[in-house]
């Protein structure tokens, strides 16, 4: 639910209309000028690679502000990192690197627990496993790609999440898009939240099942859709559905909102539908011990049929996992193509996850895990409340480390992004088609490795730039007298999670 001033809606629509008109005019001129230029491939009878209109958005809108996306970095994505400078000589159609890089504050990486850079417990163990097991298993899981580390990881992640068994894959996107077609096929029904990630949409489309969408995070609409679909049955034959799976995410990455899990699980149990929870952004980042949304909202993990997550965000590695009952995991292991034909996770990456989970659980003998979890929660709540006090429209619930700041107008996307970069704050801006057309936003991801000083500097820069760009849509709260900044939370004796 976003609130925007009416005039902003009008001006945003008008701006997109104007961009569209200019894009069409340029296309017409391009067509006229190209009449005289002959293309050798066309003369030989080859069809064009893409129809002129289907890359209209990329050519005429995205390329104009290309320098705000895909910025290369030249260091580990810690709280501060090096962003490579790029320049363009032809109006952003091509960019080339100048060879210099600037040290910027990182507000864009999914580095929730701060494992993205060298860690005193994890990195030596990762290097040891690299020497022992080599960078790649060079095999699929079923042939020769299962090492002791993989089994240890699967046991550990199953215990961590609270399910009987788990299986892990080399890539998070693939986990969704390869598992969903295996779980459900033609004759089944998938009901997915309207703002689900494209990996889930991909998997749902590839499964062959009928896909229906329910309004984002609205359990009452989910119930309505379930009742309608169950009573109608399969399309055309009206036979009962073979299986119904409801797919939701823990934290929605473009909104920063938490899923209303207890209500949705209650609705699914009432209508006997299976639940699939994608915890890509919430595992390790929320909950008292980092066990994700179930711990935060008090849902029993065994109530959810299939829990999926990725190791990319909180654990500083790469890959994904599925945790479910023993029967489901056994079934997946002998049917899922990502298990049978895809290379297994790289052993150092597996070791990174194992060490990271051990740090979070406190099994490495220190309380760094508990401090990290406390730090990320405090950082997120502090940052979000300060931004809201400044008058920005910030989405997302409390405790969620993802906070999008609404920009709306297409012209504010590049100006906000470039101005922040000038001030050494690197921010990720997201526009259409990852978000709806009118609702362009700048998305901030808070990390446990951000110190209070970093956050205050970020707030100053964002406030100044936001004032210039004009995105303070809400009234500003008056400044209250400031206390002295709190000291950093160090090893407090007696602190246990």
């Amino acid at each position: 639910m976003v609130r925007l001033p009416y005039t902003t809606a009008l001006t945003t629509l008008f701006s997109y209309g104007l961009l569209f008109v200019f894009g069409q005019l340029r296309d017409q001129f391009r067509k006229i000028l190209d009449l005289f230029k002959s293309s050798s491939l066309k003369e030989k009878g080859y069809a064009p690679i893409c129809l002129g209109l289907e890359d209209f958005y990329t050519r005429r809108l995205y390329l104009r502000i290309q320098d705000c996306f895909s910025r290369p970095i030249s260091s580990a994505p810690d709280a501060w990192f090096d962003v490579v400078e790029r320049q363009s000589n032809d109006g952003n159609k091509t960019l080339y690197r100048t060879g210099k890089s600037t040290r910027c504050l990182n507000l864009g990486s999914y580095n929730y627990l701060g494992f993205a850079s060298a860690d005193e417990y994890c990195t030596p163990r990762v290097i040891n496993s690299l020497k022992k097991y080599s960078p790649s298993t060079c095999s699929v899981r079923v042939d020769g790609g299962t090492t002791k580390l993989h089994e240890e990881l699967e046991d550990l992640i199953a215990k961590y999440v609270g399910q009987p068994a788990a299986v892990c894959f080399g890539m998070g996107y693939v986990t969704n898009s390869a598992i969903i077609p295996v779980l459900i096929g033609k004759g089944g029904l998938i009901i997915s939240d309207s703002l689900n990630h494209s990996s889930i949409i991909n998997g749902a489309r590839g499964s062959g099942a009928t896909v229906r969408v329910f309004q984002h995070n609205t359990p009452s609409h989910l119930e309505e859709v379930l009742r309608e679909q169950i009573s109608e049955g399969q399309p055309r034959t009206h036979r009962p559905w073979k299986k119904i799976i409801v797919i939701v995410e823990g934290i929605y990455s473009m909104e920063g909102e938490l899923c209303k899990l207890p209500e949705i699980v209650a609705v699914c149990k009432k209508y006997k539908a299976y639940t699939y929870l994608d915890e890509a952004h919430s595992i390790g980042a929320i909950g008292k011990s980092g066990r994700g949304l179930c711990e935060l909202l008090g849902v029993n993990p065994t109530d959810i049929d299939i829990m999926m997550g990725t190791f990319t965000k909180s654990f500083g590695s790469c890959g994904g996992y599925i945790a479910a009952s023993k029967e489901i995991i056994e079934y997946l292991m002998y049917t899922c193509p990502a298990h049978l034909y895809a290379t297994s996770m790289s052993p150092p990456a597996v070791e990174q996850v194992i060490s990271a989970i051990k740090v979070v659980l406190g099994e490495d003998g220190s309380n760094r895990g508990a401090i990290k979890l406390l730090q990320i929660r405090e950082n997120s709540n502090f940052f979000r409340s300060e931004l809201q006090k400044m008058g920005f429209e910030v989405l997302g619930d409390n405790d969620s480390p993802v906070m999008p700041i609404m920009l709306y107008n297409p012209a504010k996307i590049p100006s906000f992004s470039r101005e922040c970069l000038e001030n050494n704050v690197a921010i990720v801006t997201v526009a259409f088609p990852a978000t709806p057309l009118l609702l362009a936003r700048a998305r901030i991801c808070i990390s446990a490795s951000h110190t209070r000083v970093d956050l205050i500097k970020a707030l100053e820069v964002i406030s100044r730039v936001g004032e210039d760009v004009g995105i303070k849509y809400f009234p500003v709260e008056p400044m209250k007298p400031q206390l002295q900044p709190q000291p950093q939370v160090e090893n407090i004796p007696g602190f246990q999670h």
Partner: protein
């Protein structure tokens, strides 16, 4: 001036080409664009208001026919071409007929026609062109014309 706020939820339309039409402010923007382009035409050409409305009506006809009823598909490649055989009008609201948006878009050419013919005092060459424009546009928006290609043109 106090800011008026509107609240929106994300509409459950998977087709990003038509989803933008379900947000608040679209109808107002459409009408305002027509009004301001009438003012622009009046100031640039210095013609009578009636001529200006006729020019607006005819250019509205050409532009909306081209983009709503002629061009097929979507301007981005993410949906992998599932809408490549449908015009924008057919993609609107997932193919459901007679929704509020469709009714609004059908009324706009008729209102423009009435304004244009009234301000030109129903004189001949303009009246014929305006009438042709409104007939083509309204017939193209009938529910019975959904996915119909006359003589296979634009099939």
């Amino acid at each position: 001036m106090a800011k008026l706020y509107v609240q929106t939820t994300q509409p459950t339309d998977l087709n990003k080409n038509t989803e933008w039409f379900m947000y608040p402010g679209v109808w107002t923007t459409y009408i305002l664009i027509l009004f301001f382009s009438w003012l622009l035409v009046l100031s640039v050409f210095g013609c009578t208001p009636g001529m200006a409305w006729t020019i607006i009506n005819l250019s509205h006809f050409i532009i909306t026919y081209q983009f709503f009823h002629w061009k097929k598909g979507t301007p981005f490649a993410e949906d992998q071409g599932i809408y490549n055989a449908l015009t924008w009008w057919e993609q609107m609201d997932n193919g459901k007929q007679l929704t509020k948006n469709r009714k609004f878009l059908t009324v706009v050419p008729v209102v423009l026609y009435l304004i244009a013919s009234h301000t030109t005092d129903y004189q001949q060459p303009m009246l014929l062109l305006n009438t042709l424009a409104v007939i083509v546009l309204v017939v193209a928006k009938f529910p019975n014309m959904h996915k119909v290609r006359i003589f296979g043109i634009n099939g």
